[in-house]
């Protein structure tokens, strides 16, 4: 291309912040009735950022607080303390119309495609509901939009008058995705979006999610217990343990150079579909069970199960901060990060 003078870079958009979502010191405690003020500390001081256009994977085992965190981020649950800044606005401080306006930009795709679609609504009504909620378009325009969305997720646009029970699990998940895309969100939270599906169907949905991200420049937060799926889909990965983020890193660094002993144990536990690799794989077995989130261990909350903990000592006394360790853009909360 020939140009008389070098083209100037376009002026940066007003929202130049590369971070779309910033979770700052977020807490969510669920009080337990009749236990003298005790509470389940589901999310217990989480710091996390999701950058524009990236796919961030959030992994951890049952009860680590990953789904609660997703509900805080999407403002489906109020935080106990802390702030959640989405696109420059602290959503924990927003109410009513202002909150609705922000929520339009963030949508969620759920795990169970059977429970998350109203069985008495037609597919067309399900997908058009978010448009109704935000009074977008006329009836005729919505019909066009619904057909377009169905085509986009790989379903026949003539299916609008059918009911969810007429569809398979994978097709229902596509309907859920179409509904999430209806209001042109910029951020989508997928909570175990493929774990209820058969493998060949899960592959279709994974490919679809990737295509949509590219096409609409979406930012994703993928929550899943299946690290293989998360690693495939994400640019960066955050690992949670007992209400806290213990490590974040790029998808390759987290696998090649894990810094937190929990991340290392978690990754070593995952079987690989290759008998030759499996014969030599030596999973790091964690002792004991996940402690109760009502009364988490002192200091580093992983110290009771950690293979390298110095306890009694610094690990049982001081809580390690989430700080840079290992590779560029890698954070870990461990006094002995990387020293295995």
């Amino acid at each position: 291309m020939q140009a008389a003078e070098p083209r100037r870079a376009p002026a940066p958009a007003p929202a130049a912040d590369p971070v779309l979502l910033r979770v700052e010191n977020a807490y969510k405690y669920f009080p337990i009735a009749g236990f003298g003020g005790a509470s389940v500390r589901a999310v217990d001081g989480v710091n996390l950022e999701v950058r524009r256009g990236e796919a961030l994977g959030l992994v951890g085992e049952s009860g680590c607080g990953k789904s609660t965190l997703a509900r805080l981020i999407t403002a489906l649950l109020p935080v106990t303390r802390g702030s959640i800044v989405f696109d420059g606005q602290d959503i924990t401080k927003l109410r009513g119309g202002k909150l609705r306006k922000v929520r339009r930009k963030m949508q969620m795709i759920f795990q169970d495609p059977f429970a998350s679609l109203d069985p008495r609504m037609t597919v067309g009504d399900i997908i058009a509901e978010p448009l109704d909620n935000y009074s977008i378009g006329t009836g005729a325009e919505r019909t066009v939009r619904v057909a377009e969305l169905l085509r986009l997720v790989g379903l026949n646009p003539n299916f609008t008058n059918r009911y969810p029970h007429e569809f398979s699990g994978g097709q229902r998940q596509r309907i859920g995705i179409a509904r999430a895309l209806a209001v042109n969100p910029s951020f989508i939270v997928c909570d175990e979006a493929v774990s209820a599906l058969d493998v060949s169907i899960a592959a279709q949905i994974i490919n679809l999610l990737q295509d949509l991200q590219r096409e609409f420049n979406l930012t994703y937060l993928f929550i899943a217990h299946d690290l293989a799926v998360v690693r495939h889909l994400s640019d960066r990965i955050a690992v949670m343990y007992l209400g806290k983020v213990v490590e974040t890193a790029g998808r390759n660094d987290i696998y090649d150079h894990p810094q937190h002993p929990y991340t290392r144990a978690l990754l070593s536990s995952i079987p690989v579909p290759d008998p030759a690799v499996e014969r030599d794989r030596d999973p790091i077995m964690l002792k004991g069970e996940i402690p109760s989130p009502v009364n988490p261990p002192s200091g580093c909350r992983f110290h009771t199960r950690c293979p390298i903990a110095r306890a009694p000592g610094i690990c049982s006394e001081q809580e390690p901060p989430l700080e840079p360790h290992g590779q560029r853009d890698q954070l870990a909360a461990c006094h002995f990060a990387g020293q295995f």
Binding site: H225, I270, L286, E289
Partner: protein, 356 residues
Amino acid sequence: MAQTLLQIEDLHTQFFTSRGVVHAVDGVNLHIDAGEVLGVVGESGCGKTITALSVLRLVPDPGRIVSGRILFRGIDVTKMGDEEIREFRGNDVAMIFQDPMTSLNPVTRIGPQIEEAMTAHNRFTQQQARTRVIDLLKRVRVPGAESRVNDYPHQFSGGMRQRAMIAMGLANEPALLIADEPTTALDVTVQAQIIQLMKQLNRELGTAMMLITHNMALVASLCTRIVVMYAGRIVEEGPVDQIFKNPQHPYTWSLLRSVPRVDEARKDRLVSIRGLPPDLSNPPPGCKFHPRCPFVIDHCKQEEPPLGEVAANQLARCWVLMRTVSEEAIDHARAASLASSEAAQKLKQTIPDAGR
């Protein structure tokens, strides 16, 4: 040559529903040798669980074993009387399920539940059973077994409940343990512990296992031989190393490439299998996989291929594998249910990457 423990011959199990007859298991032949770990893989509705339930004659209504033989140490399970089948279940073959919470009685303590499994078959007295329970719980690595026998199931974590289920399954020293998705409901670190436990038990006690799962990684980790099922039929069968290295049937090949691997950097797209599994009350003609198969040829739509030998000890059910084999050879294969192993080589040329 190892002794054959279980031999299933041409098993047909069907469900008689108001919508028609569902051919859940449609002519399955398989065998398990003593001490062997066989993986039965496939997606929901492929008939893998119904095959296992047929072995125990526990097929739920309105299902029925319509024809075929299930020989356990040479005795046909399908012909056993009520008393015999009761002795056979739990004693010779035990089964563990996906969800240990729904398979344990919530109002009975763990110890007595396992004791019941032993005394029910009169193999052990009450006294013997009581001491054995603690041994069993120790064997499945339940920490503090002496005190935990008095716990109720809700006091156990998911992983511990699955251990208790395995202890119960092993209580009468069965020759075969059928495990239906034993780790699917568990977290990965707990899954790793259960996999290790099952490996140890197989080694220490020589218990043969039939592992039913959709998880290819689990099969790679535990099994020596694998059977792949699709739409009520076996589509491929062979030693684990061979199948993973050189899958022949297009379904097996697609299945292996549709799961992301945690140890691999991102491949751009997963191989996804188009469409949906067939409705088993109205299956497609010809090869049941043909509507979803990327390598379909006309012949696939007309006639169901036989399960033919495609490599040493490896069988697959596919016309494309036999495509360039002479008509005569196909006739021969049809007759003998065998195909030339050269066909395997042909597929490698037909399916890109099939031999990778």
